[in-house]
């Protein structure tokens, strides 16, 4: 942020990274179609494994921050977890944010 970088500056390495990520993403969006056109059926265990991918990946972005953060973040995540059982994604985000703001500015936790 403090590098004096302009809003329109573009780093060639970053663009390469973006393009590679884009190709990887497009491959997933085309992959199933290509697979279905070549395979007759997907083995149940492979399907189970594929089915588990989102939860398995996403939880690795949730569990370590929870364990390694202070109680301000933990309180926010617990509040979001409880709310997430009932309410959609956007509400969960708002509750988590409100909880961390209350913890930090209301109770002085983690600031």
């Amino acid at each position: 942020m403090e590098t004096g970088m302009s809003a329109f500056s573009v780093d060639s390495q970053t663009v390469t990274l973006i393009l590679m990520a884009a190709i990887a993403t497009y491959a997933t969006r085309l992959g199933g179609y290509i697979l279905v056109n070549s395979l007759k059926r997907i083995p149940p265990r492979v399907e189970s494994a594929l089915n588990a991918v989102p939860a398995a990946v996403l939880v690795t972005l949730v569990a370590p921050p929870f364990v390694n953060s202070g109680w301000d973040v933990r309180i926010a995540m617990i509040a979001a977890l409880v709310f997430g059982l009932r309410f959609p994604g956007l509400m969960v985000l708002v509750v988590g944010w409100a909880a961390v703001m209350a913890a930090r500015h209301g109770f002085g936790i983690g600031m």
Binding site: L17, G32, V57, V59, M77
Partner: protein, 248 residues
């Protein structure tokens, strides 16, 4: 279009635009969130917009930018983006009979636009009336423009932000991912996968460190799912419980 359709092409486009607009509204906070976090993690506004335009996948972009901010190796970032977007393989398999009807170039473009809400709306639409390219591209086009636009808004707003911790945006990402994880809770083997992934990533974080804890935890969760008995004859389980949350 040579064959007769229940509604005119302009009617198809109108319906697609309308549905796309609802998706733009509901995904706006995430587009803005991505723009803000991208700036915070060292992207310029142009780079953030470029990523939204080319990758066009909310969760994977947030994962990617988080890892980028931690100066993780480029191949690891690409691999993580691939891992987070892996569910799209299932989506593209499921919509094959629908998008497969389009001519080659239109088909290639349609698969590029296959996001979670696009997939959900397409499946729903096909139950009532055959999905046409006009309808599909109208919806997907609006969503794409909205996503890139919201990214730019977030990037502009993000550059005005001082200390992310003071206004609490540092917590948005883990909370957002927590919400996403919860969206998959109705899935077969959710709990064992969750526990394996959580324990694996936390232990790996201490033992081998970041970013390897992501791969180790994810691999453990996936292996557990492969080992556990597969679900019964529900071979059309391609519909995703997370769709409702993400599209809502």
């Amino acid at each position: 279009m040579s064959f007769s359709e229940p509604i005119t092409t302009s009617g198809q486009i109108r319906n697609g635009l309308k549905k796309g607009f609802v998706i733009v509204l509901s995904s706006a906070p995430f587009g803005i969130l991505f723009g803000a976090i991208a700036i915070d993690n060292g992207f310029s506004m142009a780079e953030a917009a470029l990523m939204s335009a080319f990758v066009f996948g909310g969760a994977s972009q947030l994962v990617g930018i988080e890892l980028f901010g931690h100066h993780v190796a480029a191949w690891m970032i690409v691999l993580s983006v691939l891992a987070v977007n892996f569910r799209h393989v299932l989506y593209s398999a499921a919509v094959s009979p629908i998008l497969g009807r389009f001519p080659l170039l239109k088909r290639c473009l349609s698969f590029f636009l296959l996001t979670d809400p696009q997939f959900a709306e397409t499946e729903k639409r096909e139950e009532q009336t055959p999905v046409t390219f006009a309808w599909y591209i109208a919806m997907g086009g609006v969503v794409w423009i909205g996503w890139v636009g919201n990214t730019i808004v977030g990037a502009l707003f993000g550059s005005l932000i001082g200390d992310p911790k003071a206004i609490g945006i540092d917590v948005l990402l883990p909370v957002y991912f927590l919400g996403l994880v919860m969206g998959f809770r109705k899935r077969h083997n959710f709990l064992p996968v969750l526990v394996a992934g959580a324990v694996g990533s936390v232990v790996a974080y201490w033992v081998v460190g970041s970013p390897w804890h992501i791969s180790v935890g994810a691999a453990l969760g996936i292996v557990v799912a492969a080992i556990l008995p597969p679900p019964g004859a529900s071979d059309h389980d391609l519909k995703d419980p997370a769709l409702e949350t993400e599209a809502a």
